[in-house]
Symmetry: C2
Subunit: 376 residues, 2 copies
């Protein structure tokens, strides 16, 4: 995988780049729609490509491993062939999902034992088999297996957890380097920086991951309950250490404002369920602010969903009609909300890129941050 | 509204025609996707037009009257403006829905009192206000207010019910002829032939409706629990009387086989929730037979959903992937199933039209009926 840093700017760490993968080129900064079980909820792949203009999507190792299972994925020839998405795919390691299982998982040096949320069956993830699974899924970008401590972890816990994540990373890298891709195209492995909200631990983690000289690095364990300032300062600490010439991926973040703040601090890649989850529930992000479409104020508002929007749904449907769909619990409402929000997120990162190129990112960002927080 | 009978054929009553409406031309035989509350469940209007190739859709007076309500629809400038579908729209009269309410409705000579299934509020439909409501909705084709007796009604009940339907029709026609369209384009009113499964009543009903010399006529009260032979023989009885030069609409029917049998007996227009409802539940109609996509046999079947299908979903997605979506309860599964089935229904009536033109309808129909009943 090749990353080319194309544009940087005085007064911000924001950057624009180009990432080459076996399934195509990605222009950064980029947002990756989340396809948990191999489907971005409510959105046809054709629309994801042509309307949302997604350049890369995410798959979840935990979910795909349980269902449809590796047998089916391997027989299909990998996730790209299985779901028909022919662009780049990144898979998370399953760690985050497993740790969210709470009582039905048990952690050890070896790995994480857990019970399926579907049928209660028992499984174990280890750094090794999580690499093997992602080889089978055929992700272009494979994530290391890590422990993600809660946002309120104390230093002691965060440090202990980081130790485990570091030892697991060593095992992940070893397994990755010993194994071959299954479908004839190259895959790459991104380590993950953990360490809670403790700058000392984050620095230690960042120094550790870069020692493996991989194609890119991720910042994990943020947007998990910590304060927003802690998230931003942690990104700053970590990005002081992560190399300039490699892509940086901030996992699971966040609101449009979070994304602009993180771009300003040198992050290149994002994923989050927020655009689809909130879209399904009638909360729309727009360049002028947030719309709760269920609100009675939209009942007789026949202006387009988002006059500045880039999706066809923004112009075809009116706010009054979209509100009606949510009132009547019609699934088309969730489809429209999801498409709109994803298209907006992709527009936002694409526009950030243009503003970086044009040298106007800082000014634009300040205007946008003020607008994005409004309630319309 | 103008109907042109274009092709007829020896040995069948099947016919192909062209119906002119204020919102465009409809080639018959035609199937009309059902947009109960102003949305065809799970399907974007863009896809309904460009992928499914729907030429006319249905709206439900009962549902639209309750939600979003006539105020909103009128402020929008009618349903076309409200939902953004610019092709022809037909609305049912609300009668069928009201009678389905059972205990929470009460019938009288004046009309039908009922309670909303949403909030229990009390309302009344009369032949007059149902016309007014459909004027406000702005449907191109307005249906008369009728009583639809159950499929197992005895002669006495069916006759009494028909009397009411006939008196209501007189009031509907009077109101329709006394009122003007609200949005500057012409609307038309179709009477409905009732009479249960009793040929004598159906004949009486058919003679009565044609005395009003309207632009088209509907056959109601079928596919409501009667035997299939009774449905077919009733269509035959009624179509002996309905004029050749007017379109005939068989309400709420049915399976692909029902539709071909009815076309063979001279029906031109159809609607049914079956393609969307069954599609949402994983039952796909194809030209080779019926697929229950949830079946384990499709688990590792990587052939396209329907190699003969006309929708993009038929070729983009595999059976294994679609099964996976239903297993994982992903809404994309319901979207694919709905689009596929609607596209199949539209293909079926379009192909029937081609076969009528080519003079090969009978032979083609016999082959298709055998295939359509298969379980794949």
């Amino acid at each position: 995988m090749k990353f080319e840093l194309q544009y940087t700017l005085q007064g911000t760490k924001a950057r624009a780049g180009k990432l080459q993968t076996a399934h195509g080129e990605i222009e950064t900064p980029i947002f990756m729609p989340v396809g948990t079980v191999g489907s971005v909820k409510g959105v046809h792949f054709r629309d994801l490509k042509e309307d949302v203009k997604a350049q890369i999507i995410l798959g979840n190792t935990y979910h795909l491993y349980l269902r449809p299972g590796m047998d089916t994925i391997e027989q299909a020839g990998g996730l790209h062939k299985f779901n028909g998405w022919d662009g780049p795919i990144l898979t998370d390691s399953g760690g985050f999902q497993v740790f969210s299982l709470g009582d039905i998982r048990k952690l050890s040096e070896e790995g994480a034992k857990f019970q399926s949320h579907i049928d209660g069956s028992r499984h174990m993830f280890t750094p090794e088999n999580v690499i093997d699974i992602q080889r089978t899924i055929g992700a272009d970008i494979i994530m290391a297996f890590d422990e993600c401590p809660p946002g309120d972890s104390d230093f002691e816990y965060a440090e202990k957890s980081l130790g485990l994540t570091q030892r697991w990373l060593e095992r992940c890298v070893k397994r990755f380097d010993e194994t071959e891709p299954k479908y004839g195209y190259k895959q790459t492995l991104f380590p993950i920086v953990q360490g809670g909200v403790y700058p000392e631990l984050r620095r230690r983690a960042a120094e550790h991951v870069i020692s493996f000289e991989r194609d890119g690095y991720a910042i994990g364990g943020l947007s998990v309950g910590e304060k927003e300032e802690d998230m931003y300062s942690t990104i700053e600490v970590v990005n002081e250490i992560l190399p300039e010439d490699k892509p940086r991926y901030l996992m699971g973040v966040g609101t449009p404002i979070n994304i602009l703040e993180a771009i300003d601090r040198g992050v290149d890649m994002f994923d989050c369920v927020m655009p689809t989850r909130n879209g399904r529930n009638g909360m729309l992000f727009t360049s002028e602010g947030i719309i709760n479409i269920k609100n009675k104020k939209w009942e007789n508002n026949f202006s387009p969903v988002d006059p500045n929007g880039t999706s066809f749904v923004d112009h075809h449907y009116t706010r009054a009609y979209l509100r009606h769909l949510f009132q009547a619990k019609e699934m088309l409402g969730a489809q429209i909300g999801s498409l709109h929000n994803l298209a907006f997120y992709l527009w936002l990162v694409g526009e950030a890129r243009e503003q970086i190129k044009a040298g106007t990112f800082k000014q634009w960002k300040n205007v946008m941050i003020e607008k994005l927080g409004r309630r319309l």
